[in-house]
């Protein structure tokens, strides 16, 4: 590890912390309809309500909110599916790309509607510009806005007293898209264009190489997709190589900027939470817990990638950092990023639900891979995807206060709301759905022939490829161990099921908790009330996360990356 690498990490965490309060306050004003909107956007907002027949002041119960959300996304999935299947007949297809195959089209449609962006295809050779812009990019906006909307509904549950409603899904979706995602994306796209990211509708460019050969350079409307890909926690790249591609992420500066885009809303929502419940310290407590987990993960991953790879050392390869090279485990990493930036990007990508990559996670050291998987397995609660990170963390908070209540023999409370059987049942349901999809699907894939045909290698690393894929899908992350051949009906359909379940079946109990909490009265704090804004609670929360995540996933990690690490340390990689 180098001091420059640690300065990068510290600068990044500092920048996220600096943005948290102003952006958190802005989001709170958006969702409270407290914002004097720019005239143009306000006209657009009202026009959307009129066209769609939405009463902006009409609130919904959690059940109605959930039905609205589910119906909206089912229509979105069907539309994106149809767009891909018919893209050869539609305009904006200068390369004349064929229709996407049915199982791949369904996988992709569910992938982007669930904010996962798992890509079993190479974008530049599979999707037309119309599919990329009207399909992928639109779903990136809408799925990101949905995650934030669900988190806001849950925050209203904590904030409201004896209420029967948790907001209006259509209004939340519209305002978050118009006032939060769109403006930031416009600015971010321009910043990316200024750094060399293409934005064009022209067909691919043909170039003559230095050797005199001819090469087709794929490009297109990249910058606009790149901005929302990062901001919404979606992560689906225009190119197969994602943010490792120089047209998506040309410089170290753009890479740093992209990292900020991924974390900025997740971090800011902790402050929105504090503001909505009337105590910003509550938000900072969650921010602290997230930061501690993040720095612990960065230490392991950066340490692993900056040190020498024993398998390469035995071949006499120089891996020491010097003026000539970044050093460390550079397999699968871009020279312009090096191990520090690659490790930081991988941590941010898997801690959030983004899944964008600027290096190949498959080539990370085994324990680094284990940490990346652990980030997703504990629910991507370290800042997390926009909204989904916060509501995932609040589920764990509910479990933590329940455990604390059991220890002292009091009915658990959080922010003046009693946490009772209903909330615990729903929190456990939401927390168990993702592991059920991950471990269940992996168990099926590693015994059936079509599943066994996917991994590029046998042994623990091959198992890790399968485990990573289903973890990424069910946690709606979208990144991959790239060795897995997943573009076949078995993987396309089982991964689609994992993405669907990991998103929508988790959202339902979260909204249910919002509804039950909103209906409750607030209990005044007493001397027996557990303070939830201090270090004591942060430690309790971290312990709950580690124990819950460890008990659920440690056995699977032992069979994959841990076994691979031990084999590597003993001098022989397993077959």
């Amino acid at each position: 590890m180098t001091w420059q690498g640690w300065i990068l990490v510290i600068l990044f965490v500092g920048a996220v912390a600096a943005m948290t309060r102003p952006l958190g306050g802005y989001i709170a004003r958006i969702v409270d309809a407290d914002l004097p909107a720019p005239r143009g956007l306000a006209v657009l907002e009202n026009a959307i309500y009129r066209l769609a027949g939405i009463g902006p002041t009409r609130e919904q119960s959690w059940v109605c909110y959930a039905f609205s959300l589910l119906c909206f996304h089912m229509i979105g999935i069907a539309a994106l599916y149809g767009l891909q299947r018919l893209q050869h007949l539609l305009p904006l297809n200068p390369q004349g790309l064929e229709a996407v195959g049915p199982d791949l089209a369904l996988n992709t449609a569910i992938s982007f509607a669930t904010n996962t962006s798992w890509q079993s295809y190479a974008g530049e050779t599979t999707l037309s510009y119309l599919s990329q812009m009207a399909g992928i990019t639109v779903q990136s906006f809408l799925s990101g806005a949905t995650g934030i909307a669900v988190a806001i509904a849950l925050l209203r549950g904590f904030a409201r007293v004896s209420a029967r409603t948790v907001g209006n899904f259509w209004v939340d979706l519209t305002r978050i898209t118009l006032y939060l995602l769109l403006p930031i994306c416009v600015v971010a796209s321009l910043v990316l264009v200024s750094q060399g990211v293409p934005q064009t509708l022209n067909g691919y460019a043909e170039a003559t190489t230095l050797e005199g050969g001819r090469q087709l350079l794929a490009y297109g409307p990249v910058a606009s997709q790149e901005a929302i890909k990062l901001l919404s926690g979606d992560g689906g790249g225009f190119f197969n190589a994602n943010s490792a591609h120089p047209f998506e992420n040309p410089t170290a500066l753009t890479s740093f900027f992209e990292l900020l885009l991924i974390f900025m809303i997740g971090g800011a929502l902790t402050n929105t939470f504090g503001r909505m419940v009337g105590d910003e310290r509550q938000g900072w407590a969650l921010f602290s817990a997230m930061t501690i987990l993040f720095l612990a993960g960065v230490t392991v991953v950066y340490g692993g990638e900056a040190n020498r790879n024993p398998a390469l050392s035995s071949l006499g390869i120089d891996q020491v950092a010097s003026l000539e090279q970044a050093g460390g485990n550079m397999e699968g990493k871009e020279v312009r990023f090096g191990p520090a930036h690659s490790a930081l990007f991988a941590m941010v990508s898997t801690s959030s639900s983004d899944g964008a990559v600027n290096a190949m996670h498959e080539s990370f050291m085994p324990l680094s891979g284990a940490v990346l998987m652990a980030n997703m397995k504990i629910g991507e609660i370290i800042f997390g995807g926009p909204g989904s990170g916060l509501f995932g963390m609040l589920l764990l908070v509910i479990i933590a206060v329940f455990v604390a209540g059991l220890m002292v023999g009091r009915t658990p409370e959080y922010l003046g709301k009693k946490i009772e059987a209903d909330e615990i049942k729903m929190a456990m349901l939401a927390l168990l759905i993702t592991p059920a999809f991950i471990l269940g699907a992996v168990a099926i894939a590693v015994v059936l022939p079509p599943g066994l045909s996917g991994p590029a290698t046998d042994g623990p690393h091959g198992f890790s490829e399968v485990l990573y894929a289903y973890t990424s899908a069910a946690a709606t992350n979208g990144s991959a161990f790239t060795g897995l051949s997943a573009n076949n009906p078995f993987y396309n359909l089982t991964l689609a099921a994992a993405m669907f379940g990991g998103r929508f079946l988790v959202i339902v109990p979260v909204l249910c908790i919002a509804g039950t909490l909103a209906a409750k009265r607030r209990v005044p704090a007493s001397t027996g009330t557990l303070p939830t804004h201090g270090p004591q609670f942060v430690v309790l929360l971290l312990g709950t996360i580690v124990v819950l995540g460890g008990l659920t996933f440690f056995p699977a990690l032992v069979v994959g990356p841990v076994a691979e690490h031990l084999a590597m340390q003993s001098g022989g990689l397993m077959p």
Binding site: D422, F504, L505, V508, K520
Partner: protein
């Protein structure tokens, strides 16, 4: 034909999700202590 089968699969997923909404609604359809006037 495959398109129809896959869209049917999607409809099944939708049915499962809406079924879960109804199940959750039923599970919490009672008056917990903190919502009632009971001490």
């Amino acid at each position: 034909m495959i398109d129809l089968a896959l869209l049917l699969l999607l409809a099944l997923g939708f049915a499962a999700a809406t079924g879960l909404v109804r199940l959750c609604e039923r599970l919490v359809a009672h008056e917990p202590a903190s919502r009632s006037d009971a001490p």
